[in-house]
Each structure stands twice: as C-alpha cells, then as structure tokens.
Amino acid sequence: MNYKTLNTNKLPEFFEKIKKTGKTVLAPRKKGNKTFFATFDSFDQINFDYVQTALSPKSVLFPRVEELFTYKNDDGTYSVKEPELKNEVVVFGMRPCDGVALDYLCDFFLNENPDKLLQDRKNNTTFISLACKSFDNDCFCTSVGSSPAETLGSDLCFTDMGNGSYYVEVVTDKGQKLVDAFPDLFADTKEINKVEQLAQVPVRFELKNLVPKIPTVFETNIWLDQSLACIGCGACAYVCPTCSCFDVQDECNPKAGTRLRCWDSCAFGQFTLHASGHNPREVQSNRWRNRVMHKFNYSVQNMNTISCVGCGRCIRVCPAGMSIIEHLISVEEA
C-alpha cells in the first residue's frame, strides 16, 4: 500500500479537479436531520458532521431501480438494447464499514455468475472512505470484525489527522490512479499510526460465540419474541449496505419497454409468496429469522463471511426501535 497526505484545505480543489475530468463526485449532504450521498455545486454544501449516512453507498453499484435492458417492438419483432454504463463516479465520505460492505457486495455479485451491470459500475467508481472520528450507540463495527481503521473495500481511505491534513491510504490501483492524476495535491509519506485519531467503538458481542450459536436456535421462539415489534417494512434492508435482494419488473408502452430491477426485501410478505397462495415464510417472525440467518449463517456457509458490517443503519431507521445489537446479544445469551 502507498501512503500520501493531502492538506485539508486542498479538498475543494481536489473535488473541482475531479469534476473537470468529467467524473461525478458524490459527497455527504444534509437533508433534514439526515445525511445522504449527493452531488454538490459548492464545497460548503458538503456535511462533515455525521456519524453515518442514512443510505449506504451501495446504490452507486446497485441502484434502487435500474434498467436491465430496453426493447423496441416493431409489430412483434423485438430489438433489445443493453444499457451502456459510462458515467464515472467518485464517492467521498463513506465510512470504512461501508468499504467492507462493498467488498462483500462485489464478492456476492461478481464471483459466481458475475453481474455485468454491477461490474461496469464498479469499474467506473472510485470509493473514498473517511475514517470515523466519532460513533454513536448504534455503531458496532468492532463486534463484527471490522473497525474505523479498516481499509478493505475502499479505493482510498482518508483519515483527518487533526493537523490540517488528511492521511491517505492508497488501497487499490484505482485509488492510485486517482491520486496520480493530481500529483501537485498529494505528498508522499510513510505509514502512520492513525488509530489514535479514530473513534474507539466498543465491542458489544462476541462474534466467535455468536456465529456457531445462531443455527442452534433456529427452531426456538427467540425470533417471534424479537420480531413481534417488526411492522414488516423494508427500511432495514434498503438502508443496509449488504442487502442485495431485488425484484424484476417490466414497464412498457405498445412500441417499447424496459425490464428493470429494483430493490426488494425478505421482510415483505410478498417476497416469497407463490402464485398458488402458498407462502414458505408465512409470518413476520419467519422473515425476521431469515434476515438474521442470512447475515450471520447463510453468508458464512456460502461465502465464508458474515454479511453484516456493523454500520448501524438498520437500527437507526427502524420505525419500531428494533436493534440488531440487542437481538444478537439475546441470541448470545440464549
């Protein structure tokens, strides 16, 4: 890995220069009490005072709705056109946990039956994480094997050293390319111990106890107890940086149409409903169990990793105040 520094007051110039190359820059912006990744016209629109963005950067690779293809219908003769994804994007300000999530997401979508759309978007995107100086009660990255110091899945990782400069870890070739494009902004440096600058997120549960324990409670009442409060919306899945389920929908007029994929959630009753009316996951507790099992057991079986990065978004968004931390602790204690 290469190491650089960037003066914090050079950040606006960095973004302007990136934009001049035709790339889109997304950075955290405030709306109401929440922060979202968005484009910006001027640097002062960027919000640096946030623990976590409300939505994860997964939508850059896996948009909430995207075209699979379009077609034209010429009297029953169909001509199909694939989307061409050319737009180059730089995402700034995601947290290191999101990098871990993107690494998982890419692994899931690209390793077996690789997904072209996600691959193209990934090739076109550079992810810059901004290491956490603060955390809240819902952060639990250190309980799931990550930390604010993590660089996995980021192309560049920025740490505000508190001395007017960012310490920049160049994690990937793509990150290197971006840094190399603006040599006058970045200065070389050696590896620095950044941990002192970072948030100290407490460990809430022991993953090594939890992972083997979860399948053993599959048939218990624990899921019903935990999920009676669940109202069956998809908010947790949609804000989750690793949730990847989707639906496929067609839209058309008589001459042309589009096949789209859009986010879906295993929390919805319709998700598994058969045309016959039979529903394999009949009640909400089955759906809640599936969500937790997927993150902490099925992913481990299929991909040798859990698929929760401890970003805490599902907790912050839950209309009923459900907390995965609490639920995992209750599994650990069961």
């Binding site: 169909y78 694939e82 690209l110 039956n113 067609d250 016959s276 394999p280 099992m293």
Partner: protein, 279 residues
C-alpha cells in the same frame, strides 16, 4: 471472468400452442436466432424464465426432453400477470426465454435401475421431461412406472401422451382422479395419489422414486415410500420457490443457504431434509 448481461433473453417463436386442460397450455418454442440454438443445451430437470416483453418473466421447467433437439416446450397454468399474458400469445408470436438454469436429475446414476414417477396435476411437466428422456434411453433403465393423478379427468395434462404411454409396453402408467373427478368412461383409478401408490406398491429394490406435486401430495406420499423401504437417497423431488433472476442473486428462492435456482430445483430427499421448511 468476463461478465455478460444474463438478463437479455433469447427470442423464441411460438411454433405450436396446445390446450392441455382448463387454463393450462403447452408452448413449443423455437429459437429465432440459429446461433442461440446452436449454443443452447440443457439437461432434464432444468428450468427457464419465460417472458412476455412488457409484462415480465415467469419461471417454469423445460417440459420437453433434452433428447429432442431443435425446440423446447413449456407447460404453464394461467395464474398471474405474466402467465396470463403468455396464455394470450398465439402461434407465431415472439416471447423471451432465459436459461437453462438450475441443477439436473442425475439420470446417468440411475442407469440399470427401476424408475417410479409419482406426480399430480400441473407437476407432471417437470417429470415429463425426465420420462421422455428415459424412454429415449429405454435400454438404460429397468421398469418405468408412472403414477399420475389430477383433480378431474379434464385436469390431466398431456392427454394424448398419456394415451401413448398407456399403449406402450415399456412403461406402466397408472392414472387416477380425485373421487368425484371421474367421467362416465373413466378407465383409470379413482383416489388420491398417495392412496393409489399404496394400492399399487412398487418394490423399493433397486428403484428410484421421483416425486413431484403439490405440497400436500408430497407430504402424504413420502411416508408411504418410507414404509415401502425406499431410502432417502433414492427419492428425488423438485422445489418451486418464487424466482426472479435464476442465477442465485435476487434472493427470492432462498431456502436456508440454498438458492433453489442454482442449488436446486432438483433435490434428493436426504439433501432436502437438511434445509429449513421454507418451501
């Protein structure tokens, strides 16, 4: 690996539409692009996603045998938006097809054995593929028995082929309809499939049982097979969870850590028992 957009379907011409039973039709489909046909091959048990442009995709098995080249067939019931749109298609129309997806029946490992197919209603199509495949490789297998039931005589699918199987000496077909579903000239059995199986007990010796049908039929059939001495390893079935992508991504078909679309749809019973009851 270079990724390609797997969601682009093959374009297929509907060459023939066969009315099978109320709300059930069979399409014979031919590839419009000869290059697509040339690189296409599948094995018994696999499925595809059939689509009407502008309406969406629907999942069903390939109901024809891989031994019959140059076309595929599918049989479907009109139940939702896409299947209704399909049912409204006519001969000569173009539809989309993606596939083949999923695993296959391990037919090669069944060589030298007896096969018994136990099925009901609209679940014959996935087994019809295997049955014709076995008949086309007839010398590889010993006895072939088919027990097939439907609610009424009218609801039986592939009536013309059932008649052909009746007349052949190398396949035993036992047809049954639910009590009250018989017509005055009904020659077959009357009773539910599990009861008919019990009445005509096959030997479990060197025999593979392939069971496919509505959940209740499967639930009542398995204990009878157990009683007849079929080991779990000799029983096969298919799962038909909801699917949207066919390639193990969309998550709809998951049963435990299994994606039915790629780890299934064919399951040996001992493998099925390891999965949670979410199908």
């Amino acid at each position: 690996m270079e990724a390609k957009n797997v969601y682009i379907p093959y374009q297929m011409k509907i060459e023939k539409v066969t009315y099978e039973a109320p709300q059930i039709k069979t399409f014979k489909l031919k590839f419009i692009n000869p290059e697509d046909e040339a690189k296409f091959s599948f094995k018994a048990g696999q499925f595809g996603l059939y689509s009407v442009f502008g309406e969406g995709e629907s999942t069903f098995c390939i109901a024809s045998s891989p031994t019959r080249k140059g076309y595929i067939e599918c049989t479907f019931r009109e139940v939702g938006r896409v299947t209704t749109a399909l049912a409204n298609c006519e001969e000569g129309d173009t539809i989309g097809f993606r596939g083949p997806y999923g695993n296959t029946f391990p037919m090669e490992s069944w060589f030298g054995k007896n096969l018994i197919f136990i099925t009901g209603g609209i679940a014959l199509p996935p087994l019809r593929c295997v049955i014709w495949n076995a008949l086309d490789w007839r010398d590889k297998f010993k006895d072939i028995i088919v027990i097939y039931g439907a609610r009424t005589a009218e609801d039986l699918v592939y009536k013309h082929e059932l008649a052909e199987w009746e007349s052949r000496s190398d396949i035993d077909l036992i047809q049954t309809v639910d009590p009250g579903g018989e017509t005055p000239d009904w020659k077959g059995e009357v009773g539910f499939v599990p009861a008919i199986l019990e009445k005509n007990p096959p030997s479990s010796e060197n025999t593979i049982a392939i069971v496919c049908g509505p959940p209740i039929m499967i639930k009542l059939t398995l204990p009878i097979l157990m009683k007849l001495g079929f080991p779990n390893e000799s029983i096969f079935t298919t799962l038909e969870n909801r699917m949207k992508c066919g390639v193990g991504k969309c998550g709809h078909c998951m049963v435990g850590n299994n994606y039915v679309c790629k780890d299934g749809p064919v399951y040996r019973y001992d493998e099925l028992l390891k999965l949670p009851l979410e199908y």
